[in-house]
Structures are given as structure tokens and as C-alpha cells.
Amino acid sequence: MAWVTEWWKTTKTASSVWRLTRLYTVLLLLIVSVLLIVLYQLSIGQMSRQQSLQMDNEIVQQTELSKQLPHDEFIEQFKIQSENSRQYILSYQYQSQVIGRLNTFPQNISACPTRTRFPVWSNQYNELRLVSGCIQPLHEGRLIIAIDDEYLYVLKDQFISASLIALALALLFGVITGVIFSKQVLKRINSFNTTAALVESGQLSARVEVSKNNDEYDHMALHINTMLSQLEESFNTTAGITDAIAHDLRTPLSHLRQQIEAEFTENFKQNLPTESLQLMLEKLNEILFTFAAMLELTRIQQQKEKKSQHFKRVDLNTIIIDAVDLIEPLVEERQQIVRMENSMSLFVNGDASLLFRVLYNLLENASKYAGNNAEIIVRMIKNGFMVIDNGIGISDDEKDKVFQRLYRVEKSRQVTGFGLGLTLVKAVVQLHEGNVTLLDNDPGLIVKVEFFQTA
């Protein structure tokens, strides 16, 4: 039972396969039905038609005789015929007399050629027989002609029950082959979906399994795998270039910083002006910080394969409280409010310091871009949390781009930043098998972070 409901659920979601199964089953039933109808018409239908034709002839014959012969002679010949006829049950009524095979004239019988089925007691078989017949008015009386066609009805019944069994078998066959077929197709499609999900979660090295059948699915799998290889390569190239720049420039810049620092200390000792040096130092620090962040990002993104080794069970609630505590002075400086909603324990397997960075980055972003007097809320949800602000928000066409390295929202160019915050957030969340989505708060932005597996 369980696998049936399971199958029903999966086929319902993968509706194309389900539709195909249905169509296939219906077609199968249709073909079987047509075959059965043709078979019926060629056998029982043919017999039935032939029988009617013969009976019509007999009626015509009797009618002609009644017209041509004087009544007495007609009755004489009728008596002989009705006694001798093996095929037909013939009776004739005139005035109140009934002659022929039947002792009484049955009631409620339709006029020829429409036939009525009526019971007749047979002394020969000592049982009730169901016969088909009709009444034909003749010159001076009424003729009843009937035929014992019970065998035909028995045949019909047998044919109908056999047909029903055949249809049921066809339905069963259709459904079973449909199930097998859809299961096989679904299995292949599901492997595509699984790979796509892995790639979406950042595991760019994932590839679709290729079977030995060399069918359409394998062709598709090969194409997708090639595409993924190219994607991975270009991604690695982009990351590699930024890393190379960051890495190569970090050492000379560090030296530069040391020199400026030395200069600064020297000037400070001699009471010379230090403001310009101070400014230069700050700028340099920012650049070095960005480079450090970039390198760390790459480290996190490349770490995926061997992650989770150092993961521990951590409570998101504690991390959120810490992050909110830390951001509070900064927020208050901008006359903003930060608060927590729906506080509850939620455990995930992860790196506490990385998760803290996520929270802090999101809160910092919210504070930075939402403007003065904004309200920032961190709300715990079933399997994650949301950071909600009532600032200017992010337009729909920029929502995907903000996760790219070094991308900065057009409207926020004047605010200091390097466009690495959300990229880092996404990398860390993906490292924890989670997902980040941006939603509208009208006005403002909602950042929703969900983890697929909570501990």
C-alpha cells in the first residue's frame, strides 16, 4: 500500500509521465474494446442478424399463405407446420381459439418486427425457457412466432463477462507497464534533479550518471556534464583571477603598510602632522581586509568537499543573541532599533564562528543600507531565521546579482563596502547545506536563511 501512495505522489508531481501512462492505458483499453466489438459483431451479432432475417422470411411466408389460402386450409397447413417446425414456436389465434404449439396466447408481446422476450414453460425440458418472438396480425387472426434463442443469450452473457475480464486485464496490464515505465523514466530524471540540486547548493563538481544504454537520457546527461564542466571551469577561473590578484597584491601592500606605519610612528614622535598618513593607513587597511575576505571566501567555497569534519552542534539562538549584542552600539549610533522575535533554540551542525559572521554581516548590511531610524528584526523560523529591515530594499532584477563577488547595488554606491558580504553569507550557508533567499518587506528587505538539516 505504501509504495502505491508513494508512486501516486511522485507520478502526480511528475505529471508528464503520469499523463503518458494514462494516455497509454486509455489507448490500450480502446484497442481492446474495438477488437471485442468487432469480434462480437462477427460472431454473436452475425448469428443474431441471421436469425432475425430467417424469422422475417417465415413471417412473410405465413402472411402470404394466409392471404392465398382459404381460412380452413390455412389452419390445416398451420397445424401441420407448427407441429413439424423444429426451429420456430408457432401459434395462431382466431376468435377465441388458440392452435399451434402454445396452449395460451401470451400477453404483452410486441408487434413484428420488434421482438419481445417472454417465458414459456417447456414440458419437454420441464423448465421455463425464455424465447424471443412477436405477434403478426394476419387476415383473420393473429400469428405468434417465437424462437428459443436462450443459447444466444447465454453466449452473449459469456461474451460480456469474458470481455469484462479482458478489459480488466488490459487495464491491469496498462497500469503495471505504466508503473514500470514511469518508475524507470522517473529514476533517470530524478538523477538529473539530484545533480542539479547538488550544483545549486554549490557543489560544482557534481555530475550526472551516464548509463551504458546510450539512449536520449545518456545524450542529455553527456551534454549537461559538459555544460557543468565548462561552468565549473569558468567559475574557478573567475575565483582564481581574483584570488591571484588578492594574493599577489597582499604582500607588497603589507610592506607598504609597514612603511607607512613606520613613517607614522616617526612623525608622531617628532610631532609632525600625521593626518594624511592616518588616512592612507585606513584606506590600506580596508584594501587588505577586502583581500583577506576574498581569500577566505575562496577557502570556504573550496572547502565543501572536506567540510563538516570540524562541525559541531551549535545553537543558532545563542549566535543570534551574540550578534545582536555586538551590533547594538553601531545600530544605536544610527538611531536604529534592533530586536529579536520568536526566540527559540534551533540546533544545526556547523561552525559557530562562520555562522556568527553570517549573522553579523546580515545585521551590518541591514543597518548600513536601511538608513537612519530603521527597524531591524531577527526572527527565528522553523528551520532557520530571517533578517528583516524596513529600508529601501533591493529590486527584483538585482536580487540574484547581489550574491556575486564584488557586485554592489546601484543605489548604494556611496556607502562604503566591497560587495563581498552577501557572497560570503551565501558561501557559508551553502557550506552548512542551507539556502539564502531575498524577499520584499514592502518597504525593506527580508533575508531568509533556511537549513535543510537541523540537528
Binding site: 407441429e83 414456436i89 401459434s91 404449439r101 402454445l102 396452449n103 395460451t104 396466447f105 401470451p106 400477453q107 404483452n108 417472454f118 417465458p119 414459456v120 414453460w121 417447456s122 414440458n123 419437454q124 423448465e127 421455463l128 425457457r129 425464455l130
Partner: protein, 179 residues
């Protein structure tokens, strides 16, 4: 009027085979003499017992004929077998037993259901048959064959015995095929 009975007894002693052949004639004779008619017996049974009469025949107990009538009550699941005197309609014997509905076969059950649903009047038909065929009714039985419920009567008249079937649903005769 003991005379016909005496003939019968004489015949019985002389030839058993002749008696068997004349059984119906003797029964018919006894019915003609009876003070209490079949219609009266049927009415009495119908008044005293709920349910449907499924069978009637003449029972011969030590050369004493009586009406033997069987009634089935589907609701109380009881079957009554009664023997009524031809003289005064007094109940000579009564046998009742309860029957499970499951012990009735499908045909019997269908017959009873059909009869209950119809407005068939048994006494009216008995009177009609007697009148129409100028005959006595020796026995009748409720039957169901091929989905048709009917009473099968055995009549005895000057022409001998004959069978007449009456459809319970329509109240009309079912034709009998000769040969």
C-alpha cells in the same frame, strides 16, 4: 357419500397400478366432495400466519386426504407446514421450524422477494383457474426460474391433468409449449 371412497378402496385392493393411474381422479373427486374448499383453506392460513404460501398439495394419511400447505415468513425466518381437514378446515397437524435465510437458495429467496413486492392475489387466481379450466387444483408451488417468479399449478379436469403457470409480477399466464 361414502360410495366413491369405497370404490377407491376396492380398487386399491384389486390393483395398485390402477390406483396410481387414478390417483389424480380420486383426489379430484375428494376435492369436489370437500365441505371446506381450497380457497377457504388458503384464506385461513393467510389470516393465521404472516408470510407467503409456497406450496400446496393433497396429503394422504391412511386414505384420509388433507390440504398440506407450506408457509414461509421471511421476517421471522420461520417455516410452517400445516395440514388442514377437507371436512371442516380444522388444523390436523402443524410443524414449525425456524430456517436461516442462508439456507434458502437464491432462487427461493428471489421468489419470496418478488412475491412480496407484487400485488398478487393467490385466492383470486385459484378461483379464476377453477372457473376458466373447469378443473380442480391438485397442487401448486412457488418457483423462480431465470429471474421469473411464478406459481405452477397442477389442474385436473375432464381432459386430464395439465399444468398452468401464472407469473407473479404480471398476474398473467405463462404459455405452455406442447410436446
Amino acid at each position: 357419500m361414502k360410495f366413491p371412497k369405497l370404490i377407491g378402496m376396492t380398487l386399491a385392493f384389486t390393483s395398485l397400478s390402477v390406483l396410481a393411474g387414478n390417483d389424480n381422479a380420486l383426489s379430484a373427486l375428494a376435492l369436489k366432495q370437500a365441505n371446506y374448499s381450497l380457497e377457504q383453506a388458503v384464506e385461513k392460513v393467510q389470516n393465521n400466519y404472516k408470510g407467503q404460501i409456497i406450496e400446496f398439495e393433497l396429503e394422504d394419511d391412511n386414505n384420509q386426504l388433507s390440504y398440506e400447505i407450506e408457509v414461509i415468513d421471511v421476517i421471522t425466518k420461520e417455516k410452517h407446514k400445516l395440514e388442514l381437514s377437507l371436512e371442516d378446515g380444522s388444523v390436523l397437524k402443524e410443524k414449525s421450524k425456524s430456517i436461516g435465510i442462508k439456507r434458502l437458495d437464491d432462487d427461493e429467496l428471489a421468489a419470496l422477494t418478488d412475491l412480496q413486492a407484487s400485488d398478487f392475489n393467490l385466492n383470486k387466481i385459484i378461483a379464476l383457474l377453477k372457473e376458466q379450466y373447469k378443473a380442480d387444483i391438485l397442487e401448486f408451488e412457488l418457483e423462480n426460474e431465470k429471474g421469473i417468479t411464478f406459481y405452477k399449478f397442477k389442474l385436473f379436469s375432464e381432459q386430464g391433468t395439465q399444468q398452468v403457470l401464472v407469473d407473479v409480477k404480471t398476474g398473467s399466464m405463462i404459455s405452455v409449449m406442447k410436446k
